[in-house]
Amino acid sequence: MLGLPRTRGVIGESVPRPDAPAKVRGAFDFASDLHAEDMLYGRTVRSPHPHAVVRRIETSAAAAMPGVRCVLTAADLPGKPYYGLDKVRDQPVLVGVGETVRYAGEAIALVAADHPEQARAAAAAVQVEYEVLEPLTDPVQALIEGQTLRNLVIRRGNPDAGADVVVKGFYEVGQQDQAPLGPEAGLAIPDGEGGVDLWVATQALHVDLRQVADALALPPEKCRIRLAGVGGAFGAREDLSMQIHGCLLALRTGRPVKMWYGRDESFVGHVHRHPAWMWYEHGADREGNLVFVRATIVLDGGAYASSSHAVVANAAIFGCGPYRVPNVLMWCGAARTNHVPNGAMRGFGAVQSCFAHESQMDRLATAVGISPLEIRLRNAMRSGDRLITGQVVSGAAPVADLIRRCAELPLPPPPADRMALPGGAGNLAEAADVKRAEGWAIGYKNIAYSEGSDDYATARVRLERRNGHAVALVKTAAAEVGQGLVTICQQIARTELGVEEVELLPADTLIGDAGSSSASRQTWMTGGAVREAARLVAGELLRRAGPPGRGLAGGHVVDDEGAPLAPIALLLDEPIEREFEHHHRRTGKLDEHGQGDAHVSFMFVAQRAVVDVDPEAGLARVAQVATVQDVGLALNPLQVHGQIEGAVAQGVGLATMEEIQTRDGVIRNASFTDYLLPTALDMPEVVSELVEEAEPDAPYGAKGVGEPPLISSPAAICAAMRAASGRELCRIPVRPEELAGISETKPPRQLTPGQPPA
C-alpha cells in the first residue's frame, strides 16, 4: 500500500555510522585528543628487565626537575595494590621495593609534569636498582614447573580410540598484536571532593570501574568512568592501561592529568594474543569420518592472569573445529612466564587452535584420498550435534551450507601486473615461477560470556517531544570501539519506536553495566537491552494512544493495517523513559571431564584463500579471501561486510607478517616500523556472503559477527601457501625462509597429544 508511514534507518538497512561525519572532519574526540585547563602530562617508569627484584627506588632527582609536579611509587598507593580481570587480580599497580618485576615493561613509578617532554625526562631520571633474575621464557618448561594459569582437560567418548587412518602434527602460532591505531590514552580530572572523573578509551567501563575504585580506595560512585573516543580495540583494551595511574596522579596533584602511550610503550602497555604450541593427532575411518582427536595445546600466558582462564577454555572447547567428533582427549594449559601478559584478542583462543585443527583436516584429507572440501563436508557439525563438551548446538549451525556456498564464490582473476605478484613493488618475483593455489578452513566460536557468568547489559530509552517532533534518547555504558554498535542501537530504537531521530547519550558508569565490547556480544547483549527498553516505552505509548493503535511507524501510531492514527509527538506531553537489564540464558560450568553447557550460542564461518607464491624466493601474496558467514540476521549488512573485511586483513597479517619478536623476555620490534601490518598493497580481494538463519535466543535472531573471519582466515591462507609451495609450513606467520624451504619449524619438544607436558 502506498502512503503508509514508514520508518527509515531500521534494522536490516545499511545505515551509515552516526559518528562518521565527525570522524571524516577530524572533529571526533579520541582519548588522546582530550585536554583540560591546567592539565599535566603523566608518564610511566617501566622496568627494562623481564624478571628482577626491585631493591631501591630514588625519586628525588626526578622530583626536582623543571615542570615536575609529582612522582609516585608503590609506597603511595592508597588502595588495593593489585588489579586484573575476572576473579584473579594478580597484577601490581606499581611494583614496589622488595617486590618482583615479572615482565619487561612493568610499571614501577609515575611522573606528572607540565610538558610531556619534562615528564619523559623525569621518568628517565627516576633511579631504580634491580636485582636481575633469570627470566622464565619457555612456556612448556613453565608448565612442567607448575607455573600454570589454568589447564583444562576435555574427555569425550573413548579417549584411547584407534582408527584406520591417523595423522599427527605439530603447529605453532606466533604472538599477534591487536595494534589498534589509537594509543592507550585517558584524561583524569579530580572533582575537588575526593572523587575523580576519568575519560578513557576502553572496552568495558564497569570492569575498569571496579578495578579503579578498589585501587583508589574510593566508593564506586566517586569514580566516574566515561568513554572517550576509542581508536580500535580488538581485545587490547580489556585490561587496564593508564586508568589507575592517571587517577592516582590527578588525585595527588589536584589537577587534570592526561596520559597517552607512544607506540613503543603500547606494545608493553597492553596484552597480546597468546602464542601457541599445539600437538595434534586425528583419527578417521577410511571414508574420512572423524573417529578421534587427541591434542595438547600450550599457550604462553605471560606474567599475569589477564583473561588466560577464558582463552584456555576457548582454545580447548573449539579445538576440534565445527565437526562431529565422537572421541576426544584434549589438554590445554596457559603457562605463567616472564613475558608481557597475553590475553584477549579478536578470536580469543579459537584462532590458535583453528590453525591446528584445520591443518590436520587437510592432512587427513590427503591421507584418506579425498579433497579438503569433502573431508570438511563429511564431518560438518549440524544443528542438534554436540560439541566436544557434550553441549548440544541448539541454534543455527549451517556449516555444510557455508562450505558449499563458499566454494561457489567467484575465483580471482590472475595477477593483473607485476605489482600484484608476490614481492610486488620490489619487482622480485618472476611471473613464470609464481604458483597459485587455494586453501580452505572453517571455524567457530562462542558469542558472549561463558562458563556460568551472569552476562547482562543495561539500557535506558527515553522518548520525548522536541520542537514538535518525537526524539528517542538511548543511554548505555557499552563501549563503541569502532565496531558500529552506535549504529545498531539507533537502528533498533527506530525499529521499535517508529521514530527516526535517535540520539545516543554518552557512555559512562552513571548507568548500569553493559559488560565488555568483546566476545562478539554487544549486538546481542546491549542491542537486546535497547530493544527491550524501547519495547517498554512503545507499550506505554500504545497504552496512551489506546485502540485501535497497534504499532509505531514513520513517527505515527498506526493501526493493524499500518494506517496512521496520530503523530507520536502528540502523545508525549510527558516523556516516557524505561530501563531494562538484559541477561542471556544462563550457561553452566565444565565438569572435571570438560563436559557442560558452557556457552549460550555459536557462530560459524567458512573461508577459502587464494594465494600466489614464488616458492624459490619465499614470497607470497594473498590474492583473495572468500568468506561465507553464519550471521543469524544482518542488522546492518554494510557493517557486517566491513567487519568481515577488517577481520580478513588481520588474518592476512597473522598468516603472513604480524609477529611480536621477543628475545630473552624483551620485545624487539615494538614499533610500526618493525611490527608489520598489512597495508593497502597487501590487502587481497575480499568476497563475502552472509547466511541468515535466525538464532532462536538472539534479539532479532542476530548473531555476533566480529570474530569469525579472523578465526579461520589465517589457517586458510597458510593452507593455500602449503598447496602452492609443497612445504609443510606448520607455523604462522609463515616465514619466507620456510616458504622457500631453507628452514623448517620443529616442535620444541616431543609431547604426546592429549597428555600434559612432562
Binding site: R17, A20, K23, F30, P180, G232, R263, T673, T679, L681
Partner: protein, 152 residues
Amino acid sequence: MRVSLEVNGRPLAADVWEGESLLYMLRERLGLWGSKNACEQGECGSCSVLLDGDLVCACLVLAAAADGAQIRTVEGMADDRIGRAVQQAMVEAGGVQCGFCTPGFVVSIADLLSRDPHPDELAVREALAGNICRCTGYVRIFEAVQKAAASL
C-alpha cells in the same frame, strides 16, 4: 622559539620547544586535534597533512622547519570540493570504523584525487600504502575513493 605558519588559510603562531614536531604543535599548541598520533614514526599516515602542497607525516616534520609554511589539515579539507567529496564518500561507503586513521586517509585521498582525478585500483593502493587502517581492511576505503572520483 616562535613558529608562525598558515593553517587552513589562517595565520597562526605558537611558542614551541625546539624538539617539537609539527604534529605536536598542531595538536597541543594550536588545538587542531584532527591529525592523529598513532605511531609517531612516519609509518601509519594518521597525521598526514599537506605542507606547501606536499603530502607529509606531520610527526616527522619539526615544527621549527614548518615556520612560514602553508599547512592544510583534515580540518581544512571541507574547504574545497575534492575534500568534501572524499569526506562524503568515506561516510557513505563505510570507509570509517573506529576512525582513528580516517583524517589521514581523507588528506591522502584528497591529495591523490587532486593529482589523478580517476586513479585505477593500483594507483589507489600505491597512493594509500602509507596509511594504515586496522579496522576496515581498506576495501570500503578503496570504494570511497572511486565514489569520490565519480562524484567530481
